[in-house]
């Protein structure tokens, strides 16, 4: 049934028009009616487990008895007659919650969920305000679940949402329902770190405080005291929408902000916990000249920044504003799009393809009925997309259910049908992570072979598609062609993670060969890679290599924190006259001047996601110490040079200049007339929290252009403009479940308009790797440790695995190596733990290494077993590193807690 069709239903004798195909609970919530529930979730459908959303169904107008039914399990139909506020159903709902609460310890004052707890909201809503249960409560042992999630099992009301998310939706196998009856327990077989990279969502999925945010608990604030702002995740190219929250001017947590086109209701753990790099001990808070604190107006600093021949190196980790200001300041011909030359051709290819074909959103990805992944390590490069691909795999089961007259949202029925109605997933590439394991066709090959087979596949699908001569078409490619031909909505996924532009071209050719039915998704490298590419695409831009060759240039660098860019930077800084880093974190070595810049959540910014959507993010705090937004430093510098950029007075004027280059950006920063408050109406301590320094209430920091106020003055905001999730009576994030269908009003602007013109890419010899080594080393990043910024966040660093080298078991047997051995490649100093997997192409090894660890080999002759001394040194180094991390984290936490007691004077306007 198409979703736009309307039916008429009667609730408490009032008539409403609602969309057909949904369930009654959804319909009631969309009508702004309050109906309590626990187990239903808009993204996970209905199972009818908690019995909370009871309503009375009447046969017709004359029926005065009716029967109780669960709204979440009742499809809406024309003429449906429902009682929502009658004695019968209200009494049932009150008693149901009373029964659920017999297990609950009523420990709200010490529970970190208190104040944003769905169970609290629902209990109040049902009117269950007196405790009658006299019996004993069941008590449980809690488990250690790793550094991200705290477990408090006594609070459970057995709605089963946690396992439905973790196990069914996200595919984690280490959290299940245990035992039965009144002893039901949600946990692991034994204590241990939760394995899924989506575990953090349990915090929001659990309607009460069983799973809570551990790092947030360590530096806690009630939700009503938090100052939150709408933000966008900066750890990959998807651009998931988030709320970033602070108290006493320090960032506390990130949680999900509903964007139906992108992240929906869920984030990955990198996005949820990675923000803490802003609180890292490595944070740069002051200007540093040759490693020592310095003053902006000092002669030494001004001399270091004197006008002259400057090259600007942009960063995909920096915002569009920062990169734009840098480009304006140094001139387009002197602007280099980032310190990783391998990314430049990928950037150009991505933009060229995005200029022809639209990139599928995550919502569209979830509609696919066949998926081809071309050598993209989605699990690391864009975990949230991997989660959406996983949802697409249920589509045939949903179709089958509908065929059997069962609604698509009947989750338990759909899960039953899934094993017999699989959506085909085809994987060309290497590795062994969740998605690879689900592939029905898996061709183990390296990136070059995947690109060749991609070209061959396009040629099989369309005879005009060019083919690389001499390609031996694999059996899997023929299978893939058959599957894709039959599919109605095939999805082609590739990306930058293998570093080969040929993969992007192959994916574009396959999509072209399949015609209009195909969806294409290319995953860029970093949060603003596409934005940086758009700036670099302008006609005036010089060739980066040429402009870098100019002698005696100074380098103005927007920091990029990956080891790869550090390696390249160290090469080019040797000839530089002067190196100036604009960075949020301290730079090691080769930088003579460091200017501290605002991090995530500390200034307004804009980033462009993999599709070309520019999304604004707003600050929840002011930048610490001497930090300023990078564009502000550049404007200040322009002033001393007498450059035209120096005429920019504030963000509004900078953005006006950006709009003249990218007119579409206008929509992204659309004005909101009435400012929206970032604080809740009941935030506490407003007049008292600075009283130890001044009895006058300080003026809240004001940022021009931002439609938000860092105070409690202003409106609460509606839909996507809200600064935190809230609705009258709904204090938890479940308030977002209300009217979730109506939240289309996103302030995002598409900067790339696809032409829709067909184009065939031809094979280029540059995509071929000439590698004469015995073993080819292929990069294979893990979720934790694969992204450089989040590695500076303590809980993520704790989860980062040791460097690993993956080998086929039979190859290892020939070399006499066994799993867990400590090895190195030729004479390289990096030691790897050896692991076995079948997902390794012939003559290859996969290396997994933290993003901040330098490793440059592309191949090796020998895999060498470490000797006793090396093993000992390795263990020692790891232990020292762990202890150091723990110590740093403790020290930083103590400092933050101290800061809460004594707000720095600079927080007060005019006293900084």
């Amino acid at each position: 049934m198409p979703m736009s069709e309307k039916v008429q239903i009667h609730i408490d004798d009032k008539s409403y028009q609602v969309e057909a195909g949904q369930n009654l609970l959804q319909a009631c919530l969309s009508l702004k009616l309050d109906l309590p529930y626990f187990c239903w979730h808009p993204a996970m459908g209905s199972v009818g487990a908690c019995r909370q959303c009871a309503v009375t169904l009447y046969k017709d107008k004359d029926d005065d008895r009716g029967k109780l039914a669960m709204a979440c399990m009742t499809p809406v139909s024309d003429g449906l007659r429902v009682g929502l506020g009658g004695k019968q159903e209200q009494g049932f709902r009150e008693q149901n919650i009373a029964a659920l609460m017999t297990r609950h310890p009523h420990d709200c004052p010490v529970c970190s969920e208190g104040g944003e707890c769905h169970l609290q909201d629902m209990t109040v809503m049902t009117g269950h305000h007196a405790r009658h249960y006299q019996g004993q409560k069941v008590t449980f042992n809690n488990q250690y679940l790793g550094p991200l999630i705290k477990h408090e099992m006594n609070r459970c009301i057995t709605c089963y949402r946690c396992v439905r998310f973790y196990h069914d939706y996200a595919g984690g196998s280490d959290l299940c329902a245990q035992a039965s009856k009144n002893h039901v327990y949600f946990g692991r077989q034994q204590d241990g770190v939760l394995e899924s990279p989506f575990a953090g969502n349990l915090v929001e999925v659990c309607p009460t405080g069983v799973f809570t945010d551990k790092p947030f608990n360590a530096h806690f604030s009630r939700k009503w005291d938090l100052q939150s702002a709408p933000s966008v995740c900066g750890h990959c190219a998807v651009g998931c929408n988030t709320f970033i929250s602070s108290r006493y001017n320090s960032l506390r947590r990130v949680n999900n902000r509903l964007n139906p086109q992108l992240n929906g209701h869920f984030l990955c753990d990198i996005g949820r916990y990675g923000f803490a790099y802003a609180n890292s001990p490595k944070r740069l808070n002051e200007i540093k000249l040759n490693g020592k604190p310095a003053d902006w107006s000092s002669k030494a600093v001004q001399e270091a920044l004197a006008e002259g021949n400057w090259i600007g190196i942009g960063s995909a980790q920096a915002s569009l504003e920062d990169n734009f200001a840098l480009q304006q300041l140094v001139g387009e011909e002197n602007f280099v799009p980032g310190p990783e030359p391998a990314m430049w051709p990928l950037m150009a290819m991505h933009l060229a393809i995005a200029g022809q074909k639209p990139m599928a959103s995550l919502a569209q990805i979830e509609e696919a009925d066949a998926v081809l992944i071309l050598c993209e390590n989605l699990n690391q490069s864009a975990p949230r997309i991997a989660l959406s691909v996983r949802q697409a795999l249920t589509n045939k089961a949903k179709d089958k259910a509908e065929e059997l007259q069962v609604p698509r949202w009947q989750d338990a029925a759909v899960r039953q049908l899934q094993s017999d109605n699989p959506v085909p997933l085809i994987y060309f590439g290497y590795g062994e992570q969740a998605l690879q394991r689900q592939a029905c066709v898996f061709c183990v090959c390296d990136d070059e072979e995947a690109a060749r087979q991609g070209f061959a596949l396009a040629n099989l699908l369309h005879n005009r598609a060019p083919q690389k001569a001499g390609t031996k078409v694999s059996a899997q490619t023929h299978q893939a062609a058959d599957i894709l031909r039959q599919a109605k909505k095939p999805l082609i996924v590739s990306g930058w993670s293998a570093g080969n532009p040929g993969l992007l071209a192959a994916a574009a050719n396959i999509a072209e060969a399949l015609g209009d039915k195909a969806m294409l998704c290319l995953v860029a490298d970093k949060a603003n890679s596409v934005g940086l590419g758009l700036l670099a695409q302008k006609d005036q831009c010089g060739n980066p290599e040429e402009c870098l060759a100019s002698a005696n240039a100074g380098l103005l660098v927007l920091a990029d924190h990956s080891a790869k860019s550090r390696r390249w930077m160290s090469k080019i800084t040797e000839q530089a006259r002067q190196v100036v880093h604009l960075s949020a974190l301290q730079q090691e070595g080769n930088s003579s001047l460091q200017l501290p810049i605002a991090a995530e959540g500390e200034c307004s910014a804009t980033r462009v996601n993999y599709q070309g959507y520019a999304q604004p993010l707003w600050p929840a705090v002011t930048p610490p110490g001497q930090s300023l937004p990078a564009w502000q430093w550049l404007v200040n510098l322009a002033k001393t040079w007498g450059h035209t950029l120096g005429q920019v007075e504030d963000l509004r004027q900078l953005r006006a200049r950006m709009i003249s280059v990218f007119p579409a950006l206008q929509a992204c920063w659309a004005d909101i007339d009435d400012p929206i408050a970032l604080q809740t109406p009941r935030v506490s301590g407003r007049t008292a929290m600075l009283a130890n320094q001044s009895v006058h209430e300080p003026k809240p920091p004001i940022e021009t252009e931002a439609p938000y106020r860092q105070s409690m003055e202003g409106q609460v905001g509606k839909g996507n403009s809200q600064a935190y999730s809230w609705w009258p009576g709904w204090n938890s994030n479940q308030s977002q479940h209300k009217f979730s269908q109506e939240r289309g009003d996103l302030s995002a602007a598409l900067l790339i308009t696809p032409s829709g013109q067909g184009f065939w890419w031809k094979w280029q010899s540059a995509w071929q790797k000439i590698n004469g080594y015995h073993w080819h080393l292929l990069p294979y990043k893990g979720v934790f440790g694969g992204e450089s910024l989040s590695l500076e966040a303590a809980p993520i660093a704790e989860l980062c695995p040791a460097p690993g080298l993956f080998i086929r078991a039979d190859d290892a047997a020939l070399l006499g190596l066994s799993e867990g051995d400590l090895v190195c490649c030729d004479e390289d100093s990096t030691l790897f733990e050896l692991r076995f997997t079948d997902g390794v192409p012939p003559h290859s090894l996969l290396y997994q290494i933290p993003a901040n660890h330098g490793f440059s080999l592309r191949g090796c002759e020998l895999v060498v077993l470490a000797d006793e001394a090396q093993r000992h040194a390795y263990q020692l180094a790891r232990d020292t590193q762990r202890a150091g991390q723990a110590k740093d984290q403790q020290a930083k936490l103590r400092q933050l807690l101290d800061q809460d007691r004594l707000i720095p004077v600079r927080f007060i306007e005019g006293m900084g």
């Binding site: 196998s173 959290l175 299940c176 245990q178 035992a179 077989q189 034994q190």
Partner: protein, 171 residues
Amino acid sequence: MNQSIPIRTLHESLTEAEREAVEAACSHYEQRPAAAIDALMIVQQQRGWVDDERLYALAELLGMSATELEGVATFYNHIYRQPVGRHVIHLCNSISCWLQDVGALEQHLCERLSIRMGQTSQTGQITLLPNVCLGCCDKAPAMMLDGELIMDLDKDKLDSILDKLQGEGNG
């Protein structure tokens, strides 16, 4: 994954007969994890209960995670994840038995064996467990002794059963 118990191969953890029986059970189903209950019962029949090491071995053999198998094992109260005595009594505590005063019988059992519900007698002879409905409400109160249903219980009947069991223990 598991630190407290040394990792052993399937060969060491399960006997060949056990592995063969599990494989035979798997062949009856489309998917291997579907044989989970059969596999747990096979091990339990051999060893009286299912310990952690056997649980991990079975999970590997069935192609499921240890947590998933633990969920199955702990759901059913006739699969024991702790050592039990030579004989296991499941005393029904559902409504019909309750109306027929199973409470008094439970008290009697506990006193005679000097244990509480859920415990094993000191000699390791008898384990006492509760059970939700044994399905013979017309012949309540009822219990199950080593898989055998015993109905229309009263104190005398219970005593004679216990005498027999305990006599066997002494002899």
